[in-house]
């Protein structure tokens, strides 16, 4: 007797449909799984056998062969437990096979027959809805999977419950909406740093990458966190896209689904696979987990040169492509990049109070550790210096704008940029701005890329000022945010 249950396996952020075919025939009692299963799938045999017994079913004392089709595709993960169990039950007549015609099943089984969540529930939900199938899966995932519009989800607490027929589709539950700026740092929590706050506003408006240079303890991390709150609200499509990555990585996607932009700050000792993704089976890296949010690279020169080099292309393309022997996988990676570095190994080079103890040659060598190509992608550079303690303790002044106020300006600037005529960057330059740009480019030895960067930032500043053309003042302000390497 044979039966087929539909399920899926993860390839990148997609769930690719897989058919679980079970064949029960007379012969020596064996339980075999074929069709490129990995170790976790092989182990399903023991879990399925125990789960069926404890749930009051009978495991056939016969030759049971399970095939996972299409056979050439590598299958991994524990999500095959439930479909394999269902296929065996259908093949032995303990469940009605026809009931599963329009259903895709996924879930891990406990030895007691309970159904558990697996990584990538959202991907499975998306795949099921695309195929026009209902998804049968663990009860605990019921909230998350409903991020997929028009998905019919049938939650199953334990495999025992399947005996009473397939559970009916459950009511849609929507994830809790997060307040717009939570849970990051509010700009008004950071005293002083007016120029840095302005830089963040510009970065949020124009999608620019930011580099902070400053001594330890100046507030670089806190300011980077504040950027999350300045960015506009996530659209439904963006939420789903970002949540998918988190789901596939086995993380809770509900904060992203609730509208909180992710903030990821990988340590500088992270491996390349940890940063851009990789491994077997491949998992998304930090840059993909930060998709739609902020990727903060603290202590930039301490990252290995190979890691920085690996980050460069994803930052440019907004996606990571991992090419492996059995195919290429693409993870989204559109991030607002904030990098921070000390000006020198001791951190105090150029500090007004504390003397730097590094020899001058070392300072230059330290700064050159960040390769030119990545450095070139930092549109805005700013010093973040320690705030005078007197200012820190005086509660009334220098608090400056709140995140909500600054965000208003960001939203207005984005709307303005959207609406304004898309003429060439050069053509929107006021003659005065053009001559200032040319003059300063010669004077400050700016590279071609440096000029382009300057122009992009000046355009965003003009958008913040709701100005159709880029004026002299906009270029002048942008000049103060150029990098220290020219």
């Amino acid at each position: 007797m044979q039966a087929t249950i539909t399920t899926a396996t993860l390839v990148g952020v997609d769930a690719v449909p897989v058919e679980v075919q079970a064949d029960v025939s007379s012969g020596l009692p064996v339980f075999g799984i074929v069709g490129l299963p990995d170790v976790a799938v092989q182990e399903a045999r023991d879990r399925v056998r125990a789960a069926l017994r404890t749930s009051g079913y009978e495991f056939p004392n016969a030759r049971v062969i399970v095939n996972l089709a299409p056979a050439p595709l590598r299958k991994h993960g524990t999500g095959f437990d439930l479909p394999i169990a269902l296929a065996v039950l259908c093949a032995t007549g303990q469940l009605e096979p026809r009931a599963f015609d329009r259903i895709s099943a996924v879930g891990e089984l406990g030895l007691d027959g309970s159904v558990r969540e697996v990584p990538g529930m959202l991907a499975h939900a998306l795949a099921a809805s695309r195929q026009g199938r209902d998804l049968l899966g663990p009860e605990s995932a019921a909230t998350v999977v409903h991020a997929v519009p028009d998905l019919r989800y049938r939650p199953l607490l334990g495999i025992r419950a399947a005996r009473q027929g397939i559970p009916s589709t459950c009511r849609r539950r929507s994830p809790q909406e997060a307040p717009p700026s939570a849970p990051g740092v509010d700009l008004s929590d950071v005293v002083g740093h007016m120029q840095v706050k302005r830089c963040l506003q510009i970065a949020a408006s124009g999608g620019h990458n930011v580099l902070f240079v400053g001594p330890p303890g100046a507030g670089k991390t806190m300011l980077a966190r504040a950027l999350c709150g300045l960015l506009p609200p996530l659209s439904a499509a963006e939420r789903l896209e970002a949540a998918l990555v988190h789901s596939v990585a086995g993380r809770d996607p509900s904060p992203v689904l609730g509208g909180v932009r992710p903030f990821r700050a990988p340590h500088h000792s992270s491996s390349i696979a940890g940063l851009i993704g990789g491994g077997s089976p491949p998992l998304p890296g930090e840059i993909s987990l930060a998709h739609t949010g902020v990727l903060f690279l603290d202590e930039l020169p301490e990252f290995g040169p190979a890691s920085l080099q690996a980050l460069r292309q994803p930052i440019e393309e907004g996606a990571v492509t991992l090419v492996r022997a059995h195919g290429a996988i693409r993870y989204p990676a559109r991030v607002a990049l904030v990098a921070a570095m000390n000006p020198c190994p001791c951190g105090y080079h150029g500090d007004p109070e504390k003397a730097c103890s590094c020899p001058s040659g070392l300072v230059a060598r330290y700064q050159s550790r960040v390769g030119g190509p990545l450095y070139d992608r930092m549109d805005i550079s700013t010093r973040v210096d320690r705030v005078d303690p007197g200012l820190l303790l005086s509660d009334d002044q220098a608090v400056g704008v709140t995140t909500a106020e600054s965000r208003q300006a960001v939203l207005a600037a984005r709307a303005y940029a959207e609406a304004r005529a898309r003429s060439g960057l050069r053509r929107s330059l006021h003659p005065g701005a053009l001559s200032l740009l040319e003059h300063s480019a010669r004077r400050m030895n700016l590279s071609g890329r440096g000029v382009t960067r300057l122009l992009k930032v000046a355009r965003t500043i003009a958008d913040l000022g709701a100005s159709e053309r880029v004026l002299e003042g906009h270029v002048a302000e942008a000049l103060t945010y150029r990098g220290w390497k020219g």
Binding site: Q195, E477, L479
Partner: protein
């Protein structure tokens, strides 16, 4: 490097610079490359390696003027003020002599190698260390006394606290040389050392004509160095500031401050320091 250019002067020989011989602790041998005739009493111009644009500008002004007036500019070829002093002298087509803390044939620091080669070919690079001697820490403090000894006066352009520049000033006093200092802002950490020298009695040099007077050179044709400008310019002339501090001090918003700073910097009248402050260029 051609060996023919090398010379060794021993203490007591006729070629040995007389002004150096009369100091309390003259080196037994002076190894050099170039023209031993360049070792005439001159003006030592020394300052911090981590010089601010202010320090660089002062160095350029005073060293350039001295060299153009025919006064030999002595310095140590280190990064920052020292290198700038040699550079300014060479640009003014005036004599300059470098005193190293390693062999006179060694390019140290590496980035000064072009300046050193130009000095070797026209004037002289000297050291008390034998040829080929690699740089050693203590040697640099020792060489400061040679800089002071070869000069007739020492000008400290910019020095923080503590600073190696002080050992040059001390050696100058021991050798009975004049010590001049260029004062800086009282708020600038980079000028604390030179301001202290002024308090301790060094002659404050605020103008080329004052330096000329101190060196006994006629200075009738020299202009003034002070400048004027708007509020931002005046504030920055008094004290280099970060954009935040400038905005707070003048009561303007940060966008306006940044815009003004960018425009002034593009005109070249102010410059950005490595620490993010802006000051007069």
């Amino acid at each position: 490097m051609k060996h023919a250019d090398r010379f060794v002067l021993s203490l007591g020989s006729a070629e040995y610079p007389a002004q150096l011989a009369e100091t309390p602790d003259p080196p037994k041998f002076l190894y050099g490359i170039g023209d031993p005739g360049a070792l005439v009493p001159g003006l030592a111009v020394v300052g911090a390696r981590k010089a601010t644009p202010y320090g660089i500008r002062c160095t350029r002004l005073f060293a350039g003027w001295a060299a153009a007036s025919g006064v030999t500019v002595l310095s140590g070829a280190a990064m920052g003020c020292d290198r700038e002093a040699h550079f300014a002298a060479l640009e003014a087509e005036g004599p300059t002599v470098a005193v190293l803390g390693c062999g006179a044939d060694i390019d140290y620091p590496r980035r000064s190698s072009d300046v050193l080669n130009r000095i070797r070919s026209r004037y002289a690079v000297v050291s008390e260390c034998p040829f080929g001697q690699q740089p050693q820490r203590f040697a640099f403090v020792r060489r400061n006394r040679i800089i002071a000894g070869l000069s007739s006066a020492v000008l400290v352009v910019e020095a923080g606290l503590p600073s190696g520049t002080f050992s040059t000033a001390d050696a100058a006093l021991d050798a009975g040389r004049d010590v001049f200092a260029v004062p800086g802002s009282i708020f600038s950490a980079e000028s604390r050392g030179s301001n202290r020298l002024v308090r301790q009695g060094a002659l404050a040099i605020c103008d080329v004509s004052e330096l000329a007077g101190a060196l006994g050179i006629d200075c009738s044709a020299i202009g003034r160095t002070q400048e004027s400008g708007g509020t931002v310019m005046r504030a920055l002339t008094a004290d280099p500031m970060r954009p935040d501090d400038l905005a707070r001090a003048l009561g303007i918003d940060i966008v306006q401050a940044a815009t003004t700073l960018g425009a002034l910097e593009a005109r070249g009248v102010i410059a950005r320091y490595p620490d993010g402050r802006y000051g007069v260029a």
